[in-house]
C-alpha cells in the first residue's frame, strides 16, 4: 500500500536532535508559561522514511475491470468499520451513503477513492472525496454524525469514455 523501509536508527537520531535542541533553547521566552514550555527553534526533521508522493491507492484499483454500468468494491484497511448504502454510478459521479458502525463520535477523517473504467473494463483514472469536518463551534444540532453522503465526480477528461466505477475507503478516523 505504501513504500516504507526500516529506519529506526535514523529516526531515533532525528528525534534525539529535536529534543536536544529544544532543551538547549528552553527558557528563552519570558511569558508566564515559558518556564516549562518549549519554544526553541522548530526543527524540520523526518524519520528518514520514504517521502509519500500523494494519497494512497487501494489494492486492485487498476485491475478490477467492473462491467459497464456497474460499481465494483475495493478492499481497504477500514472495511470492518462502516457499511455503505445506495452506492450508484450515473456516468458523471459515484454517489452513495456511508454509515460508521465502529464508533459513535465525530468523524475526523474519511476519504472515499473512486476508480473509473471504460466499456472494456480498462482503468481510466481516479478521483477522491474527503469528508470535511464542521468548523469548531459549528456543529450540527444533536448527536455526532454517523452517516454521511459522498459524491466522487468523474474527472472531466474521462467523462466521454467512462462506463463503470469502483470505490473503497482509504482513510477513516473517528474522534
Amino acid at each position: 500500500m505504501k513504500p516504507l523501509v526500516a529506519a529506526g536508527t535514523a529516526g531515533a537520531a532525528s528525534l534525539a536532535l529535536v529534543a536536544g535542541l529544544w532543551l538547549a533553547a528552553s527558557g528563552s521566552d519570558d511569558s508566564p508559561a515559558a518556564e516549562q514550555t518549549p519554544t526553541g527553534p522548530v526543527v524540520q526533521t523526518s524519520l528518514g522514511l520514504p517521502t509519500p508522493t500523494g494519497d494512497p491507492e487501494l489494492p486492485g484499483l487498476r485491475d478490477l475491470s467492473p462491467a459497464p454500468d456497474s460499481v465494483g468494491r475495493l478492499v481497504g484497511p477500514f472495511d470492518d468499520r462502516f457499511t455503505t448504502q445506495g452506492v450508484r454510478f450515473d456516468g458523471r459521479a459515484l454517489r452513495g451513503r456511508l454509515t460508521i458502525t465502529s464508533d459513535v463520535s465525530e468523524i475526523l477523517a474519511l476519504q472515499v477513492l473512486g476508480g473509473f473504467y471504460d466499456d472494456q473494463g480498462a482503468y481510466l483514472g481516479e478521483a477522491r472525496w474527503d469528508f470535511v469536518p464542521p468548523e469548531e463551534g459549528h456543529h450540527e444540532e444533536g448527536h455526532p454524525e454517523e452517516s454521511v453522503s459522498f459524491v466522487v465526480p468523474v474527472p472531466a477528461a474521462l467523462r466521454a469514455r467512462v462506463a463503470s466505477a469502483s470505490y473503497g475507503v482509504t482513510n477513516l478516523v473517528n474522534e
Binding site: 529516526g11 514550555t37 464508533d103 474527503d130
Partner: protein
C-alpha cells in the same frame, strides 16, 4: 507552572508533635529521582469527569464505598482548556483560549507542557514541535511504556510518541486532507518528508519512544511497520503485516525479559468488557483487559529498568469511557470506568510494594455532561436527539434502538409523563441503574424506575469542566488542589528526573531518635499522612524507619490499641486504615532487636469527619 501550584510548592514545613528523646523534624520524600522516586505510572480515563467517577463508585461500591483511584490518598482537580490555532501560550498577547479541549490538545498539554489547538498532536498552537515527556524519559535512559484501549495511534497515546498537525494523520498512509493543515503552516502545505505530516503509525513504528506498546489499532500499521519494529529489537505479537491481531494468551506468553514489546489486540479500538463477557466465543473475547495490559507492561518495564538501573515511565489510557460517553451509553460508561479502575488497582498495588513509584490517575476532559439526577426527577429537555447506537458490538444496555425517541421503560420524568403540552417522545430519557446498595441482585434493577442511580447527559461531546486527579507516592502533594493540565509536564518530569526539580511541600512529619546505647544502633521512626480524613474511607500513612532492618515489624496503634502490624522494607512501610468518625491518636513503635534500639513515633492526632 500554574500560579496556584507555585503557592502550594512554597508551603512551609509543619511540625505537629513532640516526644521524649531527641526530636527531629524532616520533610517527607519529595517527587524527584534524587529522593527515591524512580517510576511514574500515569493513568487516565479518557472522558472521565467527576460524575463518571462518582456514578461508578455508587454503582459498584455503593454510596459509602470507594473506587481504587479514590484510595490513592491525594486528590485535586485539573483545568483542561485548550487554545485556538496560532494562539500564544497563556500570558502572551496573542493568547486565545478554547474552553473545551479534545483529547489531542489535552495529551499535548501534559506530554509537552504547552497549550495547543484541538486536533494538534505534539506541537504547540503555532505548529512548533514540542518534545514529550516520554521522549525525554527515553532519551534519559528510562524504560517507557504506552498502553491504551483505543487505537494506539489515537490522540492520547499518540501525544507521547508523535508530532502531527492533525490527530487524524494516523496511517497506514499519508492522506493530504488528514495530515496537512495550511491554517497553521503559513497557508502552504508542508513537504511530505516533514515529521509533522508523517503518519503517526510510521512515527511510532520507527522512533522507539515507547519500549512497550499495547493497545488497539492494528489497521493503522502494515508490513513495513512490522519490519521496522523488528529491526529495532521489538518482540511483535500478532502481525501488522498479515493483520493478525494479538490475543491475551499471546500477551501472557511474553517473557518478562522481552524488553521491547509491540502488541495490538484489535484492528480498531478495543472491545468493551460487556461484549466480551457476553460473547466468550467471539474473537474479541480474546482481547486482554486494560488491567491485563497494565500488569504485563509493569512486569516488562520493571524487569528492563532493573537491568538499566533507571526507572520507568508508563502511561495507561482507559479510552472507552470516552467512546461510550460520546454514545450517551451510561451502562458501558460505568462498566468501562470500573475496568479502568481495575487497572488503577494494579498500579497502586505495585506502587505500595515498590515504594519508589508515583501513581497518578486523572482524565483529559469530561465527556457528554454526564450527571446524576434525583430519582424520579425530570430529564434534560435540551437533549432532544440522543445518539442512536449502531455499533453492532458495543450496543447499549438497555438498548436504545431509535435515535431521538423516548425510551418508554426509562422515561418517568414529568416532561415525559404526559402532562398537557409537555409530552414529547424526543425528550431525552435518563438511564437508570441498580447499585450495590440495593442488594446482591442489583443489576436486575437496571433500566427500571426502581434503579437508585439515575443518569443523564447534556450532549454527545466533550465539556469544559475540570477533571479529578488522584495520586499516591512521594510528590503527590504537588497534585493537590487546583492545577492546570500543563503543570503535569513539570511535575511528572521532575519525578522522573528529566525536568527541573520542583520542591514538594512537606506533610506533617515527626521523627523521634532514641538515645544511643553502647553496642546497639539507634533507630528512628516517623509517621506521616493526612490529619483530617473522611470517616470509613481508606487512608494511607507512611512510616519512615531509619536504621530499622528490612523485615522488622512495626506496630501501629490507635488510642493505644493495636490496629495494624506492618513490615519495614528499605526503611519504609505503609499502613492503610479506615477510621471511624471522631478523633484518633495514631502512633507506631518498633521493639528493637539484639542489634538495634527500639523507637516510637509521637502521637499523630487525626480527625475523621464528613
Amino acid at each position: 507552572m500554574h500560579p496556584r501550584m507555585k503557592t502550594a510548592a512554597l508551603a512551609a514545613l509543619a511540625l505537629v508533635g513532640a516526644a521524649s528523646s531527641t526530636l527531629v523534624a524532616t520533610p517527607s520524600a519529595s517527587a524527584n529521582a534524587e529522593d527515591g522516586i524512580k517510576n511514574v505510572i500515569y493513568l487516565l480515563g479518557d472522558g472521565m469527569g467527576r460524575t463518571q467517577v462518582s456514578a461508578a463508585r455508587q454503582r459498584y461500591y455503593g454510596a459509602d464505598g470507594e473506587l481504587n483511584m479514590e484510595k490513592l490518598g491525594t486528590t485535586g482537580q485539573v483545568a483542561t482548556y485548550a487554545v485556538q490555532k496560532n494562539s500564544g501560550q497563556p500570558g502572551a498577547a496573542d493568547f486565545v483560549p478554547n474552553y473545551v479541549t479534545d483529547s489531542s490538545s489535552a495529551a499535548t498539554a501534559w506530554s509537552s507542557g504547552v497549550k495547543t489547538y484541538n486536533n494538534a498532536n505534539g506541537i504547540d498552537a503555532k505548529a512548533n514541535i514540542t518534545p514529550t515527556l516520554m521522549e525525554l524519559a527515553h532519551q534519559a535512559g528510562l524504560s517507557t511504556g504506552n498502553v491504551s484501549t483505543a487505537e494506539i495511534t489515537d490522540a492520547t497515546p499518540a501525544g507521547q510518541m508523535s508530532h502531527t498537525l492533525q490527530r487524524a494523520c494516523q496511517g497506514p498512509s499519508y492522506v493530504e486532507a488528514s495530515c496537512q493543515l495550511p491554517d497553521v503552516t503559513g497557508g502552504n502545505p508542508l513537504p511530505t518528508s516533514d515529521l509533522r505530516v508523517t503518519p503517526i503509525a510510521d512515527q511510532i513504528a520507527t522512533n522507539q519512544t515507547a519500549d512497550v506498546i499495547l493497545g488497539g489499532g492494528l489497521s493503522r500499521f502494515d508490513q513495513a511497520n512490522e519490519d521496522s519494529l523488528k529491526s529495532n529489537g521489538y518482540t511483535v505479537i500478532g502481525s501488522p503485516g498479515s493483520q493478525t491481531v494479538a490475543s491475551k494468551t499471546d500477551l501472557a506468553g511474553v517473557d518478562a525479559n522481552a524488553g521491547k514489546v509491540f502488541g495490538l489486540f484489535s484492528k480498531g479500538n478495543m472491545t468493551i468488557e460487556k461484549y466480551k463477557r457476553e460473547n466468550p466465543a467471539d474473537a474479541a473475547a480474546q482481547e486482554p483487559t486494560v488491567a491485563d495490559m497494565t500488569t504485563k507492561a509493569i512486569e516488562l518495564l520493571k524487569t528492563k529498568s532493573a537491568k538499566t538501573g533507571k526507572g520507568f515511565y508508563l502511561q495507561v489510557e482507559g479510552a472507552l469511557i470516552d467512546k461510550r460517553s460520546h454514545a450517551n451509553d451510561a451502562a458501558q460508561t460505568l462498566e468501562e470506568t470500573k475496568a479502568f479502575d481495575d487497572a488503577v488497582k494494579v498500579a497502586y498495588d505495585f506502587a505500595k510494594a515498590d515504594g519508589h513509584t508515583l501513581v497518578i490517575v486523572t482524565a483529559d476532559h469530561e465527556c457528554a455532561g454526564f450527571n446524576i439526577i434525583e430519582k424520579g426527577s425530570y430529564v434534560n429537555a435540551e437533549a432532544a436527539a440522543p445518539p442512536s447506537n449502531t455499533d453492532g458490538k458495543n450496543t447499549s444496555n438497555p438498548s436504545r434502538a431509535t435515535a431521538g425517541a423516548k425510551d418508554g421503560t426509562r422515561s418517568h420524568g414529568f416532561i415525559n409523563d404526559g402532562d398537557a403540552g409537555q409530552a414529547d417522545v424526543k425528550n431525552f430519557a435518563p438511564a437508570t441503574f441498580g447499585t450495590v446498595d440495593q442488594g446482591e441482585n442489583y443489576t436486575s434493577l437496571d433500566g427500571t424506575p426502581n434503579g437508585a442511580l439515575w443518569l443523564t447527559y447534556l450532549s454527545g461531546n466533550h465539556t469544559g469542566a475540570d477533571v479529578p486527579i488522584f495520586s499516591f507516592g512521594a510528590g503527590s502533594k504537588l497534585l493537590e488542589g487546583e492545577i492546570d493540565n500543563t503543570d503535569l509536564f513539570g511535575i511528572v518530569g521532575s519525578a522522573l528526573g528529566v525536568r527541573p526539580r520542583i520542591p514538594v511541600p512537606a506533610e506533617p512529619t515527626v521523627t523521634v531518635t532514641a538515645t544511643p546505647a553502647p553496642g546497639k544502633v539507634a533507630t528512628a521512626l516517623g509517621i506521616t499522612g493526612p490529619t483530617v480524613v473522611k470517616p470509613n474511607r481508606t487512608v494511607t500513612y507512611r512510616i519512615v524507619a531509619s536504621r530499622v532492618p528490612s523485615g522488622s515489624k512495626v506496630v501501629v496503634k490507635d488510642k493505644g490499641r493495636v490496629v495494624r502490624t506492618v513490615v519495614v522494607r528499605n526503611g519504609r512501610a505503609t499502613v492503610t486504615l479506615r477510621l471511624a468518625r471522631g478523633a484518633h491518636r495514631l502512633a507506631a513503635s518498633y521493639a528493637g532487636s539484639s542489634k538495634t534500639l527500639p523507637s516510637v513515633t509521637p502521637t499523630l492526632t487525626v480527625t475523621a469527619r464528613r
